[in-house]
Symmetry: C2
Subunit: 332 residues, 2 copies
């Protein structure tokens, strides 16, 4: 084992700190994803939920509640809610993207069919709403149902914006806030609301989740051109799916006529040929947009850390700061 592997990663450290709560979340997830009548449901969800996701989003809810001194039982329900919304979104995303791999394993739409992915996703959404009503807090319900609407809106916006070269950094940020950051910020915000904190603290938790989610998605988009097999991503998926992300948006803004024609052909028209991905990466490198995108991700991670200063002091804020650093450290 190399030294690097021996060092505990920040999300593992947080998971260890939250071990009891996380065990309760896992038990609740297993209980609520069961279905008396339709055995296909736990088959599909187990495939995904057991596939070793890092449980980052539910941990954010648990950590936020704990940071605020919450001692009731409902942070567990809300953490499971957040994981169910996330899993439902993954199932539907894989249908929409026609993906074949997720977390290094074949996707549910490939193993079963699109039908199962759509309907089991719906089931998990509904289960998420049942779970959140358990907390009996109307503000929490509003935050999480708003987040669900924002996620779907971001995904639809991406459908139309992703293959349109007029998509600029503002629209990209809207998509990212929708499809990713909305759930991160809801996950952290509800922790503060449950603990009946001051609005300043609740706002800080929201800001941390929002900035962390944005940083996380930018890094994810960057790894699609920069990654290695270690990250579990297939290099060039976004390019092949003609999905405009920040490195390309920045390169399009600097493109000369010939380069613009290249992006039009490959992204807007989708006529891709052998060697196009290499050429795309060469253009990103030429215009230095991979480094520039990395700088944007780091800036958002810094904003996430800055928001933490408004939280009560304790064990949790430094661990949340480490998570923010780790999100961008994936790029090294």
């Amino acid at each position: 084992m190399s030294l690097d592997e021996a060092v505990e990663k920040p999300h593992e450290k947080l998971a260890a700190y939250l071990a009891d709560d996380l065990e309760a979340v896992n038990a609740l997830i297993r209980e609520r994803m069961a279905s008396e009548h339709a055995p296909r449901i736990p088959e599909v969800t187990a495939h995904l939920i057991e596939a070793g996701g890092k449980r980052l989003r539910p941990m954010l809810t648990l950590a936020s509640a704990k940071a605020c001194g919450y001692d009731g039982p409902y942070h567990v329900h809300l953490a499971a809610t957040v994981e169910f919304i996330h899993t439902a979104t993954l199932l539907h995303d894989d249908v929409v993207d026609e993906s074949a791999q997720r977390r290094g394993r074949p996707t549910a739409n490939l193993l079963w069919d699109n039908k199962s992915s759509v309907l089991v996703g719906d089931y998990l959404f509904a289960r998420a709403f049942q779970l959140m009503t358990d907390a009996q807090d109307l503000r929490v319900l509003r935050i999480l149902s708003n987040a669900a609407a924002t996620i779907a809106e971001g995904e639809v916006l991406q459908l139309t914006a992703a293959q349109d070269l007029r998509t600029d950094e503002d629209i990209y940020l809207k998509v990212v806030r929708g499809k990713t950051a909305a759930l991160f910020s809801a996950a952290t915000e509800v922790g503060g609301v449950l603990a009946q904190q001051d609005e300043t603290v609740i706002r800080a938790l929201f800001d941390y989740g929002d900035a962390l989610g944005i940083s996380f998605q930018i890094v994810d988009d960057l790894l699609d051109y920069w990654g290695s097999d270690k990250t579990g991503k297939n290099i060039g998926d976004d390019f092949r799916e003609r999905k405009l992300t920040l490195p390309v948006i920045k390169a399009v803004a600097k493109a000369d006529a010939e380069e613009r024609a290249f992006w039009q052909r490959t992204i807007e028209k989708g006529r891709q040929e052998e060697g196009d991905l290499d050429h795309a990466i060469a253009l990103l490198t030429k215009h230095n947009t991979l480094e520039e995108t990395r700088a944007v991700a780091i800036e958002w991670a810094e904003r996430a850390k800055a928001a933490l200063s408004a939280l009560p002091t304790g064990d949790v804020p430094p661990m949340l700061a480490d998570i923010a650093d780790y999100v961008v450290a994936r790029l090294r």
Copy 2:
């Protein structure tokens, strides 16, 4: 215009009676299906929501609240919630069934793509949950989120049960209760809950919606073999999609070896040939299962009407009884 067409239909009479409330529901639907960021959303939903559905489900909520003397504003929100859940389900169903037509018009998945149908459906689900939190009633939230889970569960059960000749009438009833009756019974039940009625009344409203929904779906399944162009259904869709419904389940139960082989080939294995639909209808006719299925639908409509006796007397219960009669009158 024939005499028959001149007579007002029961759902039109109810719509006229509820005209003001229904106008408020339509206004709320238009307002909440808008999206600032993603214009694709109102395009898709308008296509479906303006396509002239009868608004039967939201009318059931409005009528139930009115029957119980409710005079607050939230029956409008819950009626819109119910219509959003229904519309989301239709969008996803059309993806799952690979349908090309709905209400006599091309489906959204055909006009746009499956991606839009999946994601806009998710958006409507989320909007539905936002709308129901407006009513600020935790029991209502529980009823509607349970209904959403039951619907998805019924749809998944149908996926695996529909092409399996071992599916019997009990399993069929479970599917129907899930995919159709759960929303009908939630629609009526929440009307009574909002009006803070006795449990007897709330239970009666639930029973009416449950039995009406079951009758409605059995009739729908029957029309797939019995219908005409007037009903807007394509005869034989369920057969072609290899979906076991009550007339076929009853025929399979009475099948001799040769007939069983026919159902195995066409439904279980999906190897259909020219003339198979005619042969299927001939078998249903031979075993009298279309008439038997019609009798079951009528029995459920009678149960729906019987439940109404527990409601406060007034204008509404007789109109709800007429709706139950009309649902099975489609078969004449």
